[in-house]
């Protein structure tokens, strides 16, 4: 363990701007943990960039004393891809929400993930459009009653983790806004991963969608409704009383208290599995049928887009020499007029 103290404290990462989220919003916690994580990782301010889209969460960059861009709705991954491709040494975070990333920005999200651009992406999932004052979002459950769906929403919600895995994500994780220790750990893992690190955070909107994640947040229920994923460890929850076992291709909840099921029979998590099938299976475990996994679903290595685009440039320079205009113009047939 390093004995060096971080140069900066978490408050050093705060900008001088007043925070304008609603009191009680889950965003405050995510912001606070971010500052802590950057400080604990010894990051400096000038090489850190936050890029966001549009929505409540996307005000995030204004509150960090780093470089930042509050861009346009859904497109943060594209701005970040352009920046990272040309400035690969920068530490770039993409801040987005469920509407921003999965509705208007669904296309960019998918392509950023498949390219494996070395970006850390945090999706604040509150299953509602907050900034436009309460319409249902792509992660809202069927039947959600909002201003735009007075008799209930009718479209099937999207599962962010499943979507990221389908798009060939190399790092996928989930955490909860108030589970601050876990959240910090996930942010740190995301920061350390090379490639697109996708972290979904269950975030409470206490104004327009209050309490939707209570099952995963309340001390009284969360042990039964979530299961923490740990690499190479069996899936055990409910204080050790229950586990997840594979029955064919499907997971099932089994009772461990009677001693009829041995731990070795349980599903062991493998975040480094070459295939994303296990991670995908875990992503399909939803409340209330299953405890919802939190933690790292998948963490595998694959070359990043930004490293490869720069590698091609370096290879071309070493193979053909650094480009010279005279040579470019003289290539092919020329003639001289006296």
């Amino acid at each position: 363990m390093s004995t060096e103290l971080p140069v900066l404290k978490d408050k050093d990462f705060a900008s001088d701007q007043d925070i304008r989220w609603c009191p009680g919003c889950g965003d405050y916690s995510i912001l606070a943990q971010m500052k802590k994580v950057l400080a604990s990782l010894g990051k400096n301010k000038e090489e850190t960039v936050f890029i966001s889209g549009i929505g409540c969460s996307s005000r995030f960059p204004y509150y960090m004393d780093t470089y930042g861009m509050h861009s346009i709705h859904g497109r943060a991954p594209a701005f970040a891809t352009g920046l990272k491709s040309t400035r690969p040494e920068l530490d770039i975070w993409v801040i987005t929400g469920d509407g921003d990333a999965l509705s208007i920005g669904g296309n960019h999200f998918m392509h950023m993930v498949r390219r494996n651009v070395d970006l850390n992406v945090i999706l604040f999932n509150n299953s509602i459009y907050g900034l436009t004052k309460g319409q249902y979002s792509p992660t809202s459950k069927v039947g959600t009653v909002t201003k735009s769906t007075p008799v209930g929403s009718i479209d099937q919600p999207i599962n962010p983790i499943s979507l990221a895995l389908a798009a060939e994500a190399t790092f996928v994780a989930r955490s909860v806004d108030t589970n601050i220790k876990h959240l910090r750990a996930m942010m740190q893992r995301a920061s350390e991963h090379r490639g697109t690190s996708f972290l979904e955070v269950y975030q409470n909107c206490n104004v327009f969608n209050d309490g939707i994640w209570d099952y995963a947040k309340d001390k009284a229920t969360k042990d039964d409704t979530t299961v923490e994923l740990e690499h190479n460890k069996p899936l055990i929850f409910a204080g050790g009383d229950k586990g997840i076992r594979l029955n064919g291709f499907a997971p099932e909840v089994v009772d461990l208290s009677g001693g009829k099921v041995a731990q070795d029979d349980l599903l062991f998590h493998d975040e480094k599995a070459v295939s994303s099938q296990l991670a995908f299976l875990l992503s399909r475990m939803r409340h209330p049928e299953f405890p919802e996994p939190i933690g790292v679903f998948r963490a595998v290595e694959r070359p990043t887009y930004d490293s490869m685009i720069n590698q091609q440039v370096e290879q071309a320079k070493s193979k053909h020499g650094v480009g010279e205009l005279e040579k470019l113009f003289a290539g092919g047939d020329t003639w001289t007029v006296e």
């Binding site: 861009m69 701005f79 970040a80 352009g82 400035r87 392509h111 205009l325 470019l328 007029v337």
Partner: protein, 620 residues
């Protein structure tokens, strides 16, 4: 293989002419574009001035033999300086009936028609929806028609290679090329080099094409159809080294040069679209210049990635055509309020919607001027010819960095795919582009003001990674100076007006307009790719004794400072445009000058003759 022995110079008499316009047309799979490109290159290499007009369908393989599938390539090569690919055609080469009936109208009565008589079977006539054979029904009686059985002669010629009939028939464009090269005394050496290079991995195909080329050449020499050949002496061009360039290629090279001149590496975010894709292709080849090309998932990601790269301090570009520019509007608007320099290139095509993807038009002018939400003025520059695309790219980047603003470059399908001789610039003579970034600050320095402004109203281009300059940009209105989010009413008015003033101030850095021709009577005011036709038409009109002047606009936003005074010195202003009058609307709204419009929306460039007629009509 030495070409001098295989391609002996003609023993027939040669008639010297000052210029020739040739159009080659056939099925889109017949290789007419290749033939045209070779004829252009070899003519340019022999010292002629050249101008080209490729005209092809949007479909990659439109139904064979149909009128919709006809692909054409027109080239004018001349002993004099020319600005257009020519109006009337001196020699028309047609590979099938569909090509004949769709192109015959442009052949001069004194012209030569060369047809592939093997392509006029009953099935070919049916595909072209013809009831009778134009070779025999009298349609061609007023033309000097030379029927050449190209398909069968090509098959015979390439027989030694053992190629199948299917592949042998693909060589018939080289037969046609051999005949045309013979007729105009063109040098075959560059084309032989091209064949060696292009088909280096298919020696039998290379040999077949050489044999077909030779057979076409020999046919000219032996047939009694031609008593003589033509020669076009070299043009008197400004001394220097020349090469042939196409518009998109010259634009790409200009961008690379601009990057070098400003000490920047270049980032292109682009999505494939006709007719702009060749810029992406060309830039992708030159990674050793530090060029990074990103083929984005869509037009929006393309512009947004460019804005991201600009934020990081790179020379950033996005390229597209009308439909893509429409999608990019919001991203361009963000770049505008961020006050970051980058280039948006619109290679215009026929619209609206998908419109006429492979045809030319100037109908995006009002979109690039006004097609964004809010008050969002930007500088707009338009290239006037293929070679001019090079200078346009450099000038646009110079302005973008000087004023910290996105700049829009307008090109069009006509100049993007057109070719002309280009005098290669001395690299040392190209003016450097000064770009500065503010230096790092210590913690106890004055706070950094990202929206402070210099004498050009440009804000500092502070790039991530610089200690002490951390700041946040974004689409919400910013307080002048601090760059913090501001909803202050007076600040918003100030910022809107300041962004507009910045664009107006670009007029301090651009050339004033110069009048060509007479300074009284009718002013022909043009912009973009119509330069060549307008300049030629004005020249002819002045030569005919009319009082006509020509001003060609390079910057449309802002207008050059002396434009109004120049216009008011004439009795009337005629604005020819390949749209319904978009520049005319801008001129009228800014100067209350009620110009006369001459508007063509056919997906084709102006003919000199139609401009000359219009000039005469309004002037006399």
């Amino acid at each position: 293989m030495s070409s001098s022995t295989v391609f002996p110079p003609t023993s027939k008499p040669s008639e010297s002419v000052s210029g020739v316009t040739v159009r080659l047309c056939g099925d889109s799979g017949d290789g007419m574009q290749l033939l045209g490109t070779q004829l252009t290159n070899t003519s340019a290499l022999s010292g002629n001035d050249v101008a080209t007009f490729p005209d092809f369908p949007a479909e990659i393989r439109a139904p064979r033999g149909t009128r919709a599938g006809v692909s054409g390539f027109q080239v004018q090569f001349s002993a004099e300086e020319i600005f257009t690919p020519g109006d009337g055609v001196d020699a028309l080469v047609c590979m099938n009936p569909a090509a004949l009936v769709t192109n015959l109208v442009d052949l001069k009565k004194t012209g030569i028609l060369i047809v592939n008589s093997d392509g006029f079977e009953a099935k070919d006539l049916k595909l072209a929806k013809l009831d009778s054979n134009p070779l025999t029904d009298g349609m061609l009686e007023h033309y000097r028609t030379i029927e050449v059985p190209m398909t069968s002669m090509t098959r015979t010629a390439v027989e030694p290679t053992g190629l199948s009939t299917k592949f042998a028939d693909r060589c018939k464009n080289f037969f046609a090329m051999g005949l045309v090269f013979w007729l105009y005394g063109r040098d075959v050496e560059p084309t032989l080099r091209f064949i060696d290079d292009k088909f280096s991995k298919k020696p039998d195909v290379a040999e077949a094409n050489r044999l077909a080329l030779k057979a076409g050449w020999n046919y000219g020499e032996t047939t009694e159809h031609f008593a003589s050949t033509f020669s076009v002496p070299a043009a008197e061009l400004q001394p220097g080294t020349y090469r042939n360039v196409m518009g998109n290629q010259a634009l790409a090279w200009g961008l690379i040069a601009a990057a070098k001149l400003s000490g920047k590496e270049l980032f292109l975010g682009s999505y494939p679209i006709t007719p702009a894709s060749d810029i992406l292709h060309e830039l992708s080849k030159h990674k050793n210049f530090g060029v990074r090309t990103f083929q984005a998932e869509d037009e929006i990601a393309a512009v947004c990635s460019a804005v991201g790269a600009a934020f990081g301090g790179s020379m950033a570009i996005t390229t597209s055509s009308g439909p893509g520019i429409a999608l990019k509007g919001e991203g361009i608007g963000l770049g505008l309020i961020l006050e970051l320099p980058f280039l948006v290139i619109d290679v215009q095509r026929g619209g609206p919607s998908t419109g006429l993807p492979t045809k030319t038009e100037q109908s995006d002018l009002l979109m690039v001027m006004h097609g964004r939400n809010g008050e969002s003025p930007l500088p707009v520059i338009a290239a006037q010819s293929p070679g001019d695309c090079f200078d346009t790219a450099i000038e646009a980047w110079r302005i973008a960095t000087k004023y910290m603003t996105p700049v829009i470059i307008l090109s069009d399908g006509y100049i993007a795919n057109g070719a002309e001789p280009w005098r290669v610039p001395e690299v040392s003579s190209l003016e450097k582009i000064e770009v500065t970034h503010p230096p790092a600050r210590a913690d106890n320095d004055e706070p950094f003001m990202p929206y402070s402004r210099n004498e050009n109203l440009a804000r500092p281009w502070a790039v991530p990674g610089t200690p002490g300059l951390m700041h946040r940009v974004g689409g919400l209105e910013k307080q002048d100076g601090s760059g913090n989010v501001s909803y202050d009413p007076d600040n918003h008015q100030y910022m809107v007006q300041t962004r507009a003033k910045k664009v107006d101030m670009v007029a301090d850095s651009i050339a004033e307009v110069e009048v060509y021709g007479k300074s009284k009577g009718t002013l022909v005011l043009s912009w973009g790719g119509t330069y060549g036709s307008c300049r030629t038409a004005v020249k002819e009109s002045v030569d005919a004794g009319l009082d006509v002047g020509h001003v060609h606009l390079r910057w449309i936003s802002p207008f050059p400072k002396n434009l109004e005074a120049v216009m008011r010195g004439f009795d009337r202003v005629l604005i020819p445009e390949l749209n319904t009058g978009q520049l005319r609307l801008l001129i009228k709204s800014k100067y209350l000058i009620d110009a006369i419009g001459f508007n063509k929306i056919k997906g084709k460039p102006f003919k000199v003759s139609e401009l000359v007629a219009k000039i005469k009509e309004v002037t006399v």
